[in-house]
């Protein structure tokens, strides 16, 4: 019975860490271009992503 007190929190924490990582990767635009990412590993050039692809709603001239 005592084992549960650390085993279950450990299991849940690992799952939550996975969830948080997924949320972060989603937010940082890593699924924006899956095909491109596969091709880019073959190139040597700098590979700085453009984050925040959405324009602010009222930023038009």
């Amino acid at each position: 019975m005592m084992d549960f007190f650390y085993l279950i929190p450990v299991a849940l924490a690992l799952g939550a860490a996975g969830l948080a990582t997924f949320m972060w990767s989603l937010k940082s635009g890593q699924y924006e271009d899956l095909e491109g990412a596969a091709e880019r590993i073959l190139s040597n050039d700098g590979d700085k992503p453009i984050v925040e692809m959405r324009p602010p709603p009222s930023g038009r001239p």
């Binding site: 019975m1 549960f4 279950i8 299991a11 849940l12 799952g15 939550a16 996975g18 969830l19 997924f22 949320m23 989603l26 924006e32 271009d33 899956l34 095909e35 491109g36 091709e39 880019r40 073959l42 190139s43 050039d45 700085k48 992503p49 453009i50 925040e52 692809m53 959405r54 324009p55 602010p56 709603p57 930023g59 038009r60 001239p61």
Partner: protein, 757 residues
């Protein structure tokens, strides 16, 4: 502005200027003195393209960073706003990629998908952890351990339910407020009651808790909903990535006499607009100076180019082909032909009865049955045993076991697979409802110009053409972008011998081309202009013809005909075979329409106004699939039961159509109908499976034999059956082979059999 510019160069310079202004207008400020543009580049296809494009753009002065998105076929460019916009489109053209502006500001629905994916992730996390705890409970954990696990499950389930479930709760609440039910109502009630009962059981140390059932249910349903949105998103992005045919603005002579580039909605009647060759007329107007030919095919369905001169009235949306024009605007953009079409579309939209999706219709029957049987179970158990707690438990178990998990997946899964099959064939579906409506159509109505035909003329061998004359004509024609010239230039090299280089070629907009070769003057153009010497027209030279003359003497007569879209005959044969009535409805003149319709063996109507098309569809009283591309078809596209447009269609029509096909072949129409009908068959099967499952599970639940374990197993099993059935659509039949078949357009392959068994 001169009225006859000697060459096309002046117009070209003009064009690139406006393109720069347009780029600036489409860009947006991202702060820090930087602006950002998004370009759609449909021909990006590999890692090499990424490098070429990024290298070329990064080396431009002023460009801070360029980034290719290979999946979306788009390039995002950030540039410093202190100078003029860098020549992005020209640079891309120089390295071999056609690019056009992409409106990111219009791209806002993306958030719905992101929100669904986040909700799905949370539900997935919660479902897997709760299931892990539940399995140990089902394996016979001791009461103390069981209670502890129930509490932990409740702690995980509560936030997950609040976060992931609100999508359903919100939609159900909206629906209830308008006194309707949709699929989300039984889902929300089932999930919430299951959670409430489980919490009550946990507090009272009961043996059964349904936390796993309620969260797993959410997880499965979110999968269906996310896929549905991803499909819609993908089609929308693909359609948006196509070139905008209308400009964002026009070059207007300002108060100071200099030209300024104004956005479309700031143009007012009376302003003078400069229109280069190759641009579309932005608002209705009258020609002040200049001569040209206009391509009206998108506006009126007329296939032959129309000559215009000073005083001609122009309709917004027509394409200026050969010479620059100065136009006095006679209407603002909001009162132009386009706006008139938009009003007619709105009228058609409100006149059409709202279509109810299959899943909504099913849930309308389903929800009352489920809720009544749950209530009856409760009353029955209270009457039989007098134990209220026991009766409530059983009634909620009935709700959980009948919660439309399979039903919620049954329809979207099939439609997602169907959309995927169509996507592989270059057909975009806007949403699942469009597929359901497409399966119901009884009549297919085609527009002529641009839909049944390519919308570009082709040289036809009316009489014997002297190969030397043709080669000469082709050489002269290559200097012009008039559709007839393009057709002549294309016809030339295949039949000609040595290349001919005329000394000097000048274009006379509205008339033709004049070339000097040695001392002889050759003219290629309208008969009355080319034969200025007064020679009478040779017999057989009719309206759509061009004459090549040498010093006023006729050398050759060329005749043109709009080319049929490839596989038009096969497509119509497949439609007729599938039991559909086919008609042609065109705004063009009687003669070309009759000729085309009789060649294809279908009935026709010509010179139909946009309003006439809509009225015809409404009056027919049948379920019509409208296939059209022009501005004048847009109201008819909205009025029809389902609609399709080619990728070359006017922007408005393309956005109004339910389906857009990207390839040239017209076989897309029978293919889409076949897939839609197959999808309908699978949807019905899936609904039957879901109902059958309930017919078996409900009695078990009503008699109180359901435990959380049985509920979890039954639910997952029915979902799996439904998903597996959806995968059968077009699968397992040698996909790649069949795909090639469809590209080559093999009508004998059973894929085109429009049977609906």
């Amino acid at each position: 502005m001169s009225c006859c510019s000697p060459s096309a160069d002046a117009a070209m310079i003009d064009r690139s200027r406006t393109a720069n202004d347009e780029l600036l207008l489409a860009s947006h400020d991202i702060g820090g003195g930087m602006r950002q543009n998004d370009l759609s580049v449909p021909t990006i296809h590999c890692g090499g393209c990424i490098q070429t494009i990024e290298k070329a753009l990064d080396s431009l002065p002023g460009v801070e960073q360029a980034r290719v998105n290979l999946s979306a076929r788009r390039v995002t460019i950030r540039w410093r706003a202190d100078g003029t916009p860098p020549p992005l489109i020209e640079t891309l053209r120089a390295v071999g990629y056609e690019a056009h502006l992409y409106d990111v500001a219009a791209d806002s629905k993306d958030d719905a998908v992101a929100e669904l994916v986040r909700a799905l992730a949370v539900a997935g996390f919660a479902a897997s952890n709760i299931m892990m705890l539940s399995v140990s409970v089902w394996s016979g954990a001791e009461p103390a351990t069981r209670d502890l696990f129930h509490w932990i499950s409740a702690l995980i389930a509560l936030p997950a339910l609040a976060y992931s479930g609100r999508i359903f709760f919100h939609s159900a609440w909206q629906s209830l407020r308008h006194c309707q039910t949709n699929m989300d109502v039984p889902i929300s009630i089932g999930v919430l009651l299951a959670f409430a009962l489980s919490l009550y059981e946990t507090i009272h140390r009961g043996p059964h808790a349904y936390f796993d059932a309620s969260i797993t249910l959410l997880f499965f349903l979110l999968i269906g909903r996310t896929l549905d949105h991803v499909m819609r998103e993908r089609a929308r992005a693909a359609v948006q990535g196509l070139a905008r045919l209308g400009g964002r603005g026009a070059l207007v002579i300002g108060a100071d006499g200099g030209p300024t580039y104004l956005p479309l909605n700031e143009i007012e009647p009376g302003m003078t607009i400069l229109l280069a060759a190759g641009e579309r007329v932005p608002v209705d107007g009258r020609v002040l100076s200049g001569q040209s030919d206009l391509d009206c095919s998108l506006v009126s369905g007329e296939s032959a180019p129309q000559p215009v001169c000073v005083g001609s009235m122009l309709q917004a949306g027509t394409l200026n082909l050969t010479g620059p024009l100065a136009i006095a605007a006679t209407a603002a953009a909001k009162d132009s032909f386009l706006a008139e079409m938009l009003q007619m579309m709105e009228a058609a939209e409100s006149g059409r009865s709202a279509y109810r999706r299959i899943s909504d219709r099913a849930s309308r029957l389903y929800a009352p049955v489920v809720h009544l049987s749950a209530a009856a179970t409760f009353i029955g158990w209270v009457a039989a045993t007098g134990d209220v707690h026991r009766a409530l438990t059983v009634a909620i178990a009935v709700l959980i076991i009948t919660c439309p998990c399979a039903l919620g997946l049954a329809v979207p899964m099939v439609q997602v697979v169907a959309a995927r099959r169509l996507f592989e064939r270059g057909i975009m579906v806007k949403d699942g409802g469009a597929l359901e409506r497409l399966a119901e159509v009884e009549t297919v109505i085609f527009d002529k110009t641009g839909t049944l035909t390519i919308g570009a003329p082709r040289l036809v061998g009316g009489g014997p053409i002297d190969p030397d004359a043709l080669a000469l004509a082709a050489a002269i024609a290559s200097y012009s972008r008039h559709p007839y010239s393009i057709a002549l230039a294309a016809a030339g090299p295949a039949r000609a011998g040595a290349p001919i280089a005329p000394d000097h070629v000048s274009e006379y907009p509205g008339s033709g081309l004049e070339a000097l070769l040695g001392t002889a003057v050759y003219r290629l153009g309208r008969p009355e202009w080319a034969l200025a010497g007064g020679e009478s027209l040779p017999s057989g030279a009719e309206m759509a013809s061009v004459i090549l003359s040498k010093d006023g003497r006729c050398l050759a007569v060329f005749q043109f005909e709009d080319r049929l879209r490839s596989d038009a005959r096969k497509a119509i044969a497949a439609l007729v075979e599938g039991g559909l009535a086919v008609e042609v409805l065109s705004g063009d003149r009687e003669q070309p329409v009759r000729q085309l319709a009789s060649a294809l063996g279908v009935s026709h109507r010509s010179q139909v106004s946009p309003g006439g098309k809509t009225a015809h569809i409404v009056a027919s009283g049948r379920k019509v699939l409208m296939v059209g591309d022009g501005l004048n078809d847009a109201p008819a596209l909205v009025a029809a039961h389902a609609s399709m447009a080619p990728a070359s269609a006017a922007d408005v029509g393309r956005n109004a159509a339910d389906l857009v096909f990207l390839r040239e072949s017209l076989l897309a129409v029978p293919q889409a109908i076949t897939v839609a009908r197959n999808a309908r068959r699978l949807v019905r099967q899936n609904l039957a499976v879901a109902v059958g499952y309930n017919a078996i599970a409900m009695p078990i639940a009503i008699f109180g034999y359901v435990t959380p374990l049985i509920a979890a197993v039954a639910m997952s099993l029915s979902s799996l059956v439904v998903v597996a059935n959806a995968m059968r659509l077009g699968g397992g039949r040698g996909k790649t082979h069949r795909q090639q078949d469809s590209w080559r357009g093999n009508p004998s392959s059973p894929q085109f059999a429009l049977s609906d068994k």
